[in-house]
């Protein structure tokens, strides 16, 4: 039995050693990544200057067209992330500030995402390779329930989120494979879908009275003299529970309600996402309303 226990200890130590080596290797590779996604791009970048930075979920990513801002001479990048929540938007802004970005305006898509203050694991996982290289990221994840495992167990984060930051992603970074998330200054145009779902039910959705990360973004902007613009973006007409936007308006009167600026189905790819034509109409309206020369 003693021999077996020694053998098991050896296996355990080998496993720990492999975990340390793989962790170091993967992290090193992620630190070289620059054209895979918005998070890597910001983390591995130096100070930038922007007139407008757009944050939010896919309803920011697919709705704000930076080229229309740029026509007005406003250097803009859309950092909206499909599937992202305000947890990730807040962390993204913190990283930009840490990297000494000079930002004049932040436009935050704040509507459906006000209903929760959880992380979106599929998106937040992309920050995790850098958790040991950034106090900002470490502190942001500190209150998450699996922080200790993610932070202290070597390679655990790469195993847990292997479909986001695992072997396939590492290979793509090594091969320098590009994604399209940085094209069009971060904006991802959607096409009109023949079979797009033009119905939605948000009856059970309620905005939180105090969304921690919304308030955090607002506060960060105030501290760093960034003009903060929070906007509710359009949904198609056939939505049950449309009074959600009124509830948001009551709780957060400073958020501009642009939900009904674009209505017709022909401007939507699916009920929650406008197509390129709809996004252009919407962005033009935003630019006119907020950036008059």
């Amino acid at each position: 039995m003693k021999r077996f226990l020694i053998y098991i200890v050896k296996i355990f130590l080998i496993t720990v050693l492999i975990a340390f080596i793989l962790d170091g290797l993967y992290t090193y590779i992620f630190l070289q990544s620059h054209n895979r996604g918005k998070i890597e791009q910001v983390f591995n970048s130096n100070a930038q200057k922007y007139d407008v930075v757009i944050l939010g979920s896919s309803r920011a990513n697919n709705h704000f067209v930076p080229q229309i801002f740029e026509k007005r001479g406003l250097k803009t990048f859309n950092y909206g992330m499909s599937g992202g929540h305000l947890f990730e938007a807040s962390l993204m802004l913190k990283l930009m500030i840490e990297r000494k970005y000079e930002i004049k305006n932040v436009i935050l898509e704040a509507d459906l995402n006000l209903s929760n203050d959880h992380q979106s694991e599929g998106v937040s996982a992309k920050f995790l390779p850098y958790i040991h290289n950034s106090e900002i990221i470490k502190n942001h994840f500190f209150n998450e329930k699996d922080f200790n495992e993610l932070y202290y167990i070597p390679f655990y984060r790469y195993i847990k989120y292997d479909n986001k930051i695992g072997f396939r992603e590492v290979c793509k970074i090594i091969r320098d494979d590009k994604t399209n998330s940085l094209d069009n200054s971060g904006y991802y145009p959607l096409q009109k879908h023949k079979n797009g779902n033009m119905k939605n039910n948000i009856v059970n959705l309620n905005p939180l009275k105090h969304n921690k990360y919304y308030e955090e973004i607002e506060k960060l902007c105030k501290i760093h003299n960034i003009n903060f613009i929070a906007i509710m973006t359009p949904m198609c007409e056939n939505v049950k529970g449309m009074n959600y936007f009124e509830k948001v308006q009551k709780l957060y009167p400073e958020i501009y309600n642009y939900e009904n600026v674009v209505k017709e189905d022909k401007y939507f790819s699916s009920c929650g996402h406008m197509n390129d034509a709809g996004a252009k109409i919407f962005t033009a309206k935003i630019v006119t309303d907020f950036f008059k020369k």
Partner: protein, 477 residues
């Protein structure tokens, strides 16, 4: 609690420690601990079905004794059939009732009658097919006086409920496992080390091969109408390796875990994809089930001793029943039927036992023949797997038809953001490793075992799929 879960990684060392350091006084304490651990393990899925497991155990234990004690043939027959009918009744109720009810209703509807069947809203108790077959073999063996009834309820319960084999086999025989639980187990370093090798290699098969193949196979099978010929061929190959990695990986872990407790389980897989014909494939794939059906169905039906029609009938019965055992769906029946069609020519030409020797490859013409026959057998099994995996028989036929008619062999990008060809290198490496170690139980033992184990652990961590967490496929059976 899955073998590839954190919960099991905590559970196993605790049970191991208690087994060898606290409950090691005699075989009764060892067995009592294993029973408690097994019931806890089972209750992690659904504690309510624990009652079914205990009832089934008690039924076979009691009827086994009554059969042995029975003074008249009538009394022996009564207890025998009671056990068979109750066991099969539970299996039928939980696993097959909805299938028969809806199939019957469809038949009535097609005949012009209106039928709305009463379907049961029940979930299938995990492992019911496996522990029912444990019990059945035990009772049948007592009835035919091949074994004596077990009078110690704890020992018998352990035979039925032993956690490594409880939910997905291997399907044990009383003649093999019961004698082992009747004696106190002594720790053996070499056996335990072999167990660790098997556990590690089983995990490689599960998380590196099966779970990595799964998203590719799923993306291809679920969207087969938009896939080209090359992707469809790859889909069938990926599923072949998914199910092999999944089930044989589970069996390896089960055998390995059991070795840690000093109990030897039946080998369930012996490199089936290196078979030279279908008969050999069935001697190497899910061996404990194949041999169960051979001993308790095929031979009692007359086996291959009768006339031509009897041989044909028995072959189809055993394969179709085996297919149906896997699940209540026509696709499984079709899968069994196809395997019977593959097997029959070998049986009728008396060549079903041609390839009993070890496979040898050298630089000569015979080796080309052997290699071709391995590839041909793999092709046949892949065609059959399409029926096993498809949702309906129509889907399976259309899938195969599209392979032939589409004729596009370019690389395709799947809707889960993966290229269809991505896994070929990994599968190639896996096949080479298994081929070079086909005479051993697993590839990690032997020379440089520590280095090989370390590489296997590295493969599990670096190449394994964990986030698309999947159950073992055979749990549903």
């Amino acid at each position: 609690m899955f073998f590839n879960s954190i919960a099991f990684a905590i559970f196993l060392p605790i049970v191991f420690f208690l087994y060898w350091f606290v409950f090691n006084k005699n075989k009764s304490t060892q067995n009592a601990l294993l029973i408690i651990a097994s019931y806890y393990f089972y209750s992690c899925w659904d504690w309510r079905f624990l009652f079914l497991l205990v009832f089934s155990t008690f039924l076979d234990y009691y009827t086994g004794i009554q059969i042995e004690k029975g003074k008249s043939e009538k009394s022996r027959k009564f207890w025998f059939w009671l056990s068979i009918l109750v066991n099969l009744g539970f299996l039928g109720l939980f696993k097959y009732y909805n299938f028969f009810a809806s199939s019957f209703a469809e038949l009535l509807t097609s005949a012009g009658f209106k039928a709305s069947p009463i379907l049961l809203n029940v979930i299938l108790p995990v492992g019911i097919s496996f522990y029912t077959f444990h019990g059945l073999s035990y009772v049948i063996d007592i009835y035919y006086k091949r074994i004596k009834a077990e009078y110690n309820f704890v020992d018998y319960s352990l035979f039925v409920s032993y956690f490594p084999l409880l939910v997905a086999g291997p399907i044990e025989r009383a003649t093999h496992l019961l004698p082992q639980v009747k004696v106190k187990r002594e720790f053996n370093f070499q056996t335990a080390k072999e167990g660790v090798y098997q556990i590690v290699w089983g995990l490689v098969k599960k998380v590196v091969i099966a779970d990595t193949c799964a998203p590719y196979a799923n993306a291809i099978f679920d969207n087969y109408t938009s896939m080209n010929s090359f992707s469809l061929i790859l889909g069938a190959i990926y599923f072949a390796f998914q199910i092999y990695g999944d089930f044989s990986g589970y069996s390896d872990i089960a055998l390995g875990v059991s070795k840690l407790f000093g109990l030897d389980l039946l080998r369930n897989f012996n490199y089936p994809y290196f078979s030279r014909d279908i008969a050999e494939f069935w001697r190497r794939w899910h061996i404990s089930l194949s041999s169960w059906f051979r001993d308790y169905l095929y031979i009692p039906l007359g086996g291959s001793k009768g006339g031509l029609w009897m041989k044909i009938r028995n072959t189809f019965i055993i394969f179709v029943v085996s297919g149906f055992w896997h699940g209540a769906n026509w696709t499984y029946i079709a899968w069994g039927f196809i395997n019977a069609v593959y097997f029959l020519p070998l049986l009728l030409s008396n060549s079903n036992r041609n390839n009993m020797d070890a496979i040898q490859l050298k630089f000569n013409f015979d080796s080309i023949k052997v290699f071709s026959s391995i590839l041909y057998t793999f092709l046949l099994t892949c065609i059959a797997w399409v029926f096993f995996r498809a949702r309906t028989i129509t889907d399976a036929i259309l899938y195969l038809k599209r392979i032939v008619t589409n004729k596009d062999f370019s690389f395709q990008y799947l809707d889960n953001e993966r290229y269809s060809y991505e896994l070929l290198l990994m599968i190639g490496v896996f096949v080479l490793i298994e081929w070079n170690n086909r005479t051993k139980v697993e590839p990690l033992s032997g020379k440089m075992s520590m280095l090989k184990t370390a590489l296997a652990i590295l493969a599990i961590m670096a190449f394994g799929t964990f986030s698309d967490y999947k159950e073992f496929i055979y749990f549903q059976f």
